[in-house]
Amino acid sequence: MSARNRELFALIPATLLLTAGFAAVFIQRDNLLSDVSLTYGAIFLALCLAAHLVLRMTLPDADPYLFPLVAVLACFGLVMLYRLDDELAREQAQWFVVGLIFFTATIVALRRDHRVLERYRYVIALSGILLLLLPRLGSPRNGAYLSFEMGPISFQPAEMAKIAIVIFLASYLRDTRQVLVIGARRFAGITFPPLKHLGPLLAVWGTAMALLFVIQDLGSSIMFFGGFLALIYVATNRISFVLIGLGLFALGARVLYAIRPTIESRVDAWLHPFDPDLYELESGGSYQLAQSLFSQADGGFFGQGFGQAIIQLGNQAPILPAAHTDLIYAVIADELGLLGAVAVLLVYLLIVERGFKTAMLATDSFSKLLATGLTAVLALQVFVIVGGVTKLIPLTGVTLPFISYGGSSIVANFILLALLLLVSDRARREAA
């Protein structure tokens, strides 16, 4: 069976899942099964088919599993959002359309050879950094500069910037990876890159640090810096470079921790979520994390079922804040239990596996590094938000890709998917 036919078949369970999910929410809500669930299923199937046809025409050899896996996540997110607020689900569905338009545009623009991106690497890097600086024009949300208000639309530039930075690094490291390794010398048991090339690396580190100070958000900084280290490691195969990078990042984070009270309070809230003083704090306290833990505890192994989680009572302040964005994983754990939450993690893991597989199949260094970097930032983004929600690391506000509500997140992640499929198509064609 051809790759595209496999993809087509794999889309069927995703659509069925969506239809069944909507049906479950309807039954829970109104005690009746309306055909609206089928309508939603049909629209979603139509969207998937449209994207599938684009792939069939433009990237016939691309990985057949990536798109259906993303479709599963997307439909899962749509059902969860519909359960929280049908208005949000409608908007999210519209964002999916926008996302698919960008997805198609990216593929059409780069289908001949995605390596043209290398030519524009400095432009891309610069625009990525400028994007990140945008929110500084506005006011911080929860102490971090992550979103930018454009009229009614709130835009999170970090989502787009992560792709720009990966493209730049993949291209830059393709050029310098040889010299980084060859010129390296050992000192005190640690291999240091040659001084001449240490400069650009320090520049990247400095940029990441500057970003950390500019956006003042540990979560997205971990995402950027983690992606950077992953690329350095794959490009040079030197664990020592990673350790040096980690040490420098820890140093920067420590300084920021000391001078920025928002970061400190995040860490305090993480260490003592049930401290009454931190819990009662108006903003930046531990209320959100504590509620996240309580709602996961409510879910148990099998979950309470769709629509059963306690999110909000009447018009009062929500009991579980940011349920549709930061804490959507907690809602999943509450309603679908440990089983459902781990299933979601497994879908991400499968996407990551396909992403790295694509990187390994790719023949040129840039494609390899690009696929690796995109996959790594995606995995890190999941780790940062799910880790925050489950109290593995301090909670910071990034979205759960393809599931959380948010236009910029959907659009950016569909572009990320398009780039992965572009790399995959070429790699698999050359391998065949």
Binding site: N237, L313, G314, N315, V342, L349
Partner: protein
Amino acid sequence: MNAPILKLFGLVLVLFAALAGMTSYNSVINAEEYRDNDLNKRPQIEQAQVKRGVIRARDGSLLARSVKDPEDGLYERRYPPQARRFSHVLGYDYALGIGRAGLERARNDALTGEEDEITSIVDDLRGERKVGDNVITNLDPRAQQVALNALGGRRGSVVAIEPATGKVRVMASTPGFDPGALRRPAVYSRLSRQANSPLFNRATQAGYAPGSTMKVVTAAAALDSGKFTPQSTVSGRSPIIVSGVPLKNFSNRQFGAIPLTTALTNSVNTVWAQVAQTVGRKRMQDYMERFGFDSDLPLDYPDNQMFASGVFDLKREQLIPTGSRRVDIGRVGIGQERLRVTPLQMATVAATVANGGVRMRPSITNRIVDEDGRTVESIKPQPAQRVMSAQSAGQLTQMMSDVVREGTGTAAALDGIEVAGKTGTAELNIPRSINQPWFIGFAPRSQPKVAIAVTLENVIGGQGGVVAAPIAKQVMHELLR
């Protein structure tokens, strides 16, 4: 470059395993602890989504009901004005605010229709709405009001129990509070700071010196041991040395060798101290425990609102076993030493004697009915323990009748109904003559329908027979109407 990519994937596997591990910890392994966390209001919200059952008095009058807040769909508790007279025993349910107390807390499972997992899944599938059951109590609103009026705003407590069944008819504690007013947390915090502790249920939580009412316990142990009969004579001279310290009778009155009946009628300290010493610490401890001392009484009431009666070490804030060598057993026998008892405990002592020596489990709840009025659970009279033989109980009843007929307790006598009882006057501050007056008793003597304990805090110059006995009389009169 493929080897490092593979290693990177390995790292991602490890990171995701940690995520799954943390989720397991939160959702399953440590879930119980998170659910029980005080900050977690989810269990209370879930219960507030259920229509909580009503609570009614014995005569069917409403004490508590629930109304739905259209704003958030949650039920809130409302208390009609007559709930005020039952403030402590009824308690309150503001689970999303100040919490729960009293019967509202003790019967929470029934009131919220809490059922086992399987029933609830079956009901869920059948689409049945969960509704709480109603609680019908044994409480008598008129007698309760008589008790409150008789206490007259003074700090104190009245407990009345049906001896044969353990049904709690009256449980009054003054000062009280309006359960409806506690809806505002500010009222709660103001009342909880008030010096006269209106939120404190004196009937079950207050440990008072029992004074001479304790002699009933000593007499039960003495008669049941076979070492004494009501006719056994003991010298009543005063003072005598007990545990190295002189012990005097009231007004240092002198008695010769007198029978125990006379010694109870006149509440002769020196006689009962000697009796307790002869009975011995072990047997005294045994009989106190049989009466329910040293542990919470088995009442349908929250543990945190119960005090176990016994010899209480104030410094260590814990009970000392009565049999311990550190305890002056002679003085325990006359209700002195560091003995601290609750009104509920002393009502139980009276009820046990009245019931022929068998202590019944006290119960506030009469039955639990579902929303259609079908009885879900009926609280059957349950013996807790046989404390003494029927013969000993009969002898003790005779002795206690004499107390009311011709002794210190005449003020409790009812027209045409024979009352048995015992007065007590614990002297808390002799120079300032601050006393804790008591009366315990039951009526009618032959077929007791009510057993009672009455006590008041810090009454200057107050004698049990003068201050407490008339209150007992009024309440018994109402309950025997």
